[in-house]
Amino acid sequence: MAAIIQGIGTATALNSTNSLDTNKTLFANSRRSLSDRKGRFFMVRSDGCLSYGLNGHGGRAEKLITNAVAAKEDTAVAYTSSKPGHELLLFEALREGLEEEMDRDPTVCVMGEDVGHYGGSYKVTKGLAPKYGDLRVLDTPIAENSFTGMGIGAAMTGLRPVVEGMNMGFLLLAFNQISNNCGMLHYTSGGQFKIPIVIRGPGGVGRQLGAEHSQRLESYFQSIPGIQMVACSTPYNAKGLMKAAIRSDNPVILFEHVLLYNLKERIPDEEYVLNLEEAEMVRPGEHVTILTYSRMRYHVMQAAKTLVNKGYDPEVIDIRSLKPFDLYTIRNSVKKTHRVLIVEECMRTGGIGASLTAAITENFHDYLDAPIVCLSSQDVPTPYAGTLENWTVVQPPQIVTAVDQLCQ
C-alpha cells in the first residue's frame, strides 16, 4: 500500500491562520417532518477569510493554492444563534459526532487502518481507542477489501461499523465489497439483511498528493444501487451528517475532503442530526443557481464575492447529498433563477455534475432559460506539479467567467 501520511501533523496543530469565523443560524431541525419542508432553508453564513496552512510551508505553498478554501462573503445579515456553541475544526467535529454516537449506541464501532492507537491519519478518531477499547476502535491490517467486507459482515449481524478509508482512494481496492455487498446485498437477500455501515474518509484533490491520492470516488460509486453518498463541507454539517449516516439503516458513504479538515466553525452545543437527503442553501440569490459540494463550495464563495461586486446575485447551494439529489431544493432554485452553473471537483466524464445535469434537464427543462453549464475537473490524472494541479481543478476566475456568460 502506498504511503498516505500526508497532512498528518496539520490536523493536530491549529494554525493561527486557520480562521473561518462563521456566524450562522440554524433554523431547521434536521428531523423536521415533511410537512415543514417549505421554507426549509437554513443558512450557514461564512464570513471571514479562510486560508490554511499545511506543514508550515509558508508563503510559497499558500501561493500555489491560494484558492484552496477561500471563502469570503459579502456582509450579509449575520445571524447569531441563541446559544454560544463551541468552536471546532472540521476533523474535531467529525470526531465529536462519532463519539456522541458511540456513547449513545454500543453497537457503533470503528474499523480501519490506523484508526486506533494512531488516532486516524487525519485524527478523526483521535482518543477513541483509549476510551472505547481496541475492539470498538479496531486497527486493521492493510487489507482494504477484507476489512471493508468485515464491516459489512459485522453490519449484517447487528453492529453499526464506521469503516475509515485512510485515503478514499484506497477504497478502490474494496470496490467489489462496496458495490456487490454494501449496495446489493439488502436487495438480493430479499430485504432480510440490512447493512447499516458508514464508509468514510478523506478524498478529493489535496495539495500535490499525486494522482492516486487525489481521487474523487463519488463518480465511481454513484451508479451503485442501494447506497447513499453525502459530502461534508463545514464542521457543522460534518458532525450532523456523520451522526445521520451512523443512524441510517442504509449503507452511507461520507466524503470528507483532505483540504477541509482544518476549517474552523462555531457549532451548537446542543445535539443535532442533519438530514442525509437535503441540500444546504449557502447563499440565497436571484440571478443564477450555483450547485456545488465539498471543497468547491469555497471556490464558489470566493467567486461569489467577485460576482456580487459585478452586480450579480448568485444563489449558492451545497448539494451535500450526492446520491440521491435533493431535487426539491434544486427545483425551487432553478424555478427562481432559470440558470444553472454546476461547479465540482469531480471528473468531467461520468461525474456528479454530469448526473446532476441530466437530472435537471430531465426534470426542470421548462424552467431553464439557458443551457446548464458544468465546470468540472479536467479528465486527466491529477498531476503532481502545483501549477498543473491548479489547472486541473476549477478555479474561482473560471466560475466568474462562466456566470458572466451564463447571464448574458
Partner: protein
C-alpha cells in the same frame, strides 16, 4: 522463534504419513494415467492417502487438532503447539444410529434436491447459472449439522445444499430458484444468492473471495457481542465455505491473517474439488496443500477426506469446539469432487473420465450407507424410507415453487434501501418513496 519452528516441524509431520502411503502410487497406476498434462490430478492421487482403494475409514489419516491441546495441556505461551495433530482412533464407532440417519437424510436431501434442480433447469423452470453440489455432500452435512441455529453460515455460489443443511426449507430454496415471490429471498437473489436471516445463512456470494471477509465480520460480531456488549453466553461460531479456486484469492489470505490475529470464532472450510471451473488446482496453486496455509497464519490446518462424512464430522467437531471455546479459527481442507460440471452450463468435457469414475466410486452417500450397514446402524428398509421421504419432500418443493406466484411489480423497489428515504426527495418536496408510483413499483428511480 522457537514456537514457529515447532509449527513447521509439526506441519511437516502431518505430511509424512501421507507421502509414505504406497497404495496411492499403486492407485495412480491403476488409473492408467499416462498423460503429463499439467492439469491432471495424478499428482494428487500420489499425495493423498485417502484415495487408496481400500480407503474406507482409514483411521490414521484423519488429523484432529485439539486433542493435542488437551493432552499436552497447552497454555497460551505455547499456543502454536495446537498445530500438532494426532492420529484419530477410528476403530471406535463414531456415531449413534440417530446421528447416522440424520447425516444420511441430509446428504440424500442435498443430492435429490440438486438432481431435481438439473431437471428443472433443463425443463426451463430455472435460468441463469446453477451450480450443483453433487458429490460434495459429505462436507456440507459433516460440518453444518453440527451448528446451532444462531451460528452463522457463509457460502459461495454453490450454496443450495449448505442452506438446506442449515435448515432452510427446501420449498423456500426451490421457489427462489424458480424466481418466485415465496423464495427465501423473494425471488430477488437466485441460485447464487441464497440468504436466510432466520437460519443465519448470510449468503450465497456469487463472486468468490468476497464471502470470506463477510464471514470474518460475522465472527467479529460474535466476539464483539461477547467482549464489548458483555453477552457472556454468546458462543456462536461462523463457518465459511469456499473452494480451492478461492484459496488463491487475496481475501482468503487477508482474512486468515485477521481471524488468527483476533482469534475469531470462525472455521474456514475449503471444499477442494480439484477444479476451478476448468482450471486444475494443480495448475493454479504453487503448493496444492491448502491446509498448510493455516499454520502459516498461526492457526491449525487440517486436511480431511471430504468424501467421508464421518471423518469430516470428526474434524468439524474439533474445529467448532475450538471456536466456541474462544481458541480461534481453524482452516480445514476437505478433498472432494463434484460429480457434475461447474454449472449446468458447463459441458464438463475437460476432466478426465478416469478421474470422474474414480471419485464416482467414492460417492459419499454410498460410503455412509455401507458404513451403517457394516456397523449395524441401519438396515436397507430404514434408508429406503428416508430416500422416499426425501423424494416426496423435493417433489413437494417443486410443486410449491411451481404454484407460487411470480413477484409482482410492486416488489421491484421495495428492498433497494432498508430505509427507503434513500431514494431521496422528489421535486415536489416529498420523499420519493411516498409517491404512489413507488409502492406500485412503477416509479423511475
Amino acid at each position: 522463534m522457537a514456537t514457529s519452528a515447532s509449527t513447521f516441524s509439526s506441519a511437516t509431520r502431518i505430511l509424512q504419513p501421507l507421502n509414505n502411503n504406497n497404495n496411492n502410487t499403486l492407485y495412480g497406476n491403476q488409473l492408467g494415467m499416462s498423460s503429463c498434462f499439467l492439469g491432471t490430478t495424478k499428482k494428487l492421487y500420489m499425495k493423498t492417502p485417502f484415495l487408496s482403494p481400500n480407503s474406507k475409514r482409514r483411521s490414521k489419516d484423519v488429523l484432529v487438532v485439539s486433542e493435542v491441546v488437551k493432552d499436552k495441556n497447552c497454555n497460551a505461551d505455547s499456543s502454536l503447539s495446537n498445530l500438532c495433530h494426532i492420529t484419530w482412533p477410528l476403530d471406535n464407532v463414531l456415531i449413534t444410529k440417530d446421528e447416522g440417519l440424520e447425516l444420511y437424510e441430509d446428504m440424500v436431501l442435498g443430492r435429490a434436491f440438486e438432481d431435481m434442480c438439473a431437471q428443472m433447469y433443463y425443463r426451463g423452470k430455472m435460468y441463469g447459472f446453477v451450480h450443483l453440489y453433487n458429490g460434495q455432500e459429505a462436507v456440507s452435512t459433516g460440518f453444518i449439522k453440527l451448528l446451532k441455529k444462531e451460528d452463522f453460515l457463509v457460502g459461495v455460489y454453490r450454496d443450495h445444499v449448505h442452506a438446506l443443511s442449515k435448515g432452510v426449507p427446501a420449498r423456500q430454496v426451490m421457489s427462489e430458484l424458480f424466481g418466485k415471490s415465496t423464495g427465501c429471498c423473494r425471488g430477488q437473489g437466485g441460485s447464487m444468492h441464497i440468504f436466510s436471516k432466520e437460519h443465519n445463512v448470510l449468503g450465497g456470494f456469487a463472486f468468490i473471495g468476497e464471502s470470506i471477509p463477510v464471514a470474518t465480520g460475522a465472527a467479529f460480531s460474535i466476539k464483539y457481542r461477547k467482549e464489548v456488549l458483555k453477552e457472556a453466553d454468546c458462543d456462536h461460531v461462523t463457518m465459511a465455505f469456499f473452494g480451492d479456486g478461492t484459496s488463491n484469492n487475496g481475501q482468503f489470505f487477508e482474512c486468515l491473517n485477521m481471524a488468527a490475529l483476533w482469534k475469531l470464532p470462525i472455521i474456514f472450510v475449503v471444499e477442494n474439488n480439484l477444479w476451478a471451473i476448468g482450471m486444475s488446482h494443480l495448475r493454479a496453486t504453487s503448493d496444492p496443500e491448502i491446509w498448510k496455509k493455516g499454520p502459516a497464519f498461526g492457526m491449525p490446518g487440517v486436511h480431511v477426506d471430504g468424501m467421508d462424512v464421518l471423518k469430516v464430522r470428526e474434524v468439524a467437531k474439533e474445529a467448532v469446539a475450538r471456536a466456541r471455546r474462544g481458541d480461534g479459527p481453524t482452516l480445514v481442507e476437505c478433498e472432494t469432487y463434484r460429480f457434475r460440471g461447474h454449472s449446468l452450463a458447463d459441458p464438463d468435457e475437460l476432466r478426465d473420465p478416469a478421474e470422474k469414475n474414480h471419485y464416482a466410486a467414492r460417492d459419499p452417500i454410498s460410503a455412509l450407507k455401507k458404513y451403517m450397514f457394516e456397523n449395524n446402524l441401519a438396515n436397507e428398509a430404514e434408508l429406503k424410507a428416508i430416500d422416499k421421504k426425501i423424494d416426496e419432500l423435493v417433489e413437494d418443493a417443486v410443486e410449491f415453487a411451481d404454484e407460487s406466484p411470480h413477484p409482482v411489480r410492486s416488489q421491484l423497489l421495495e428492498n433497494v434501501f432498508a430505509d427507503p428515504k434513500g431514494f431521496g426527495i422528489g421535486p415536489d418536496g416529498r420523499y420519493r418513496c411516498e409517491d404512489p408510483k413507488f409502492t406500485e413499483g412503477t416509479a423511475d428511480v
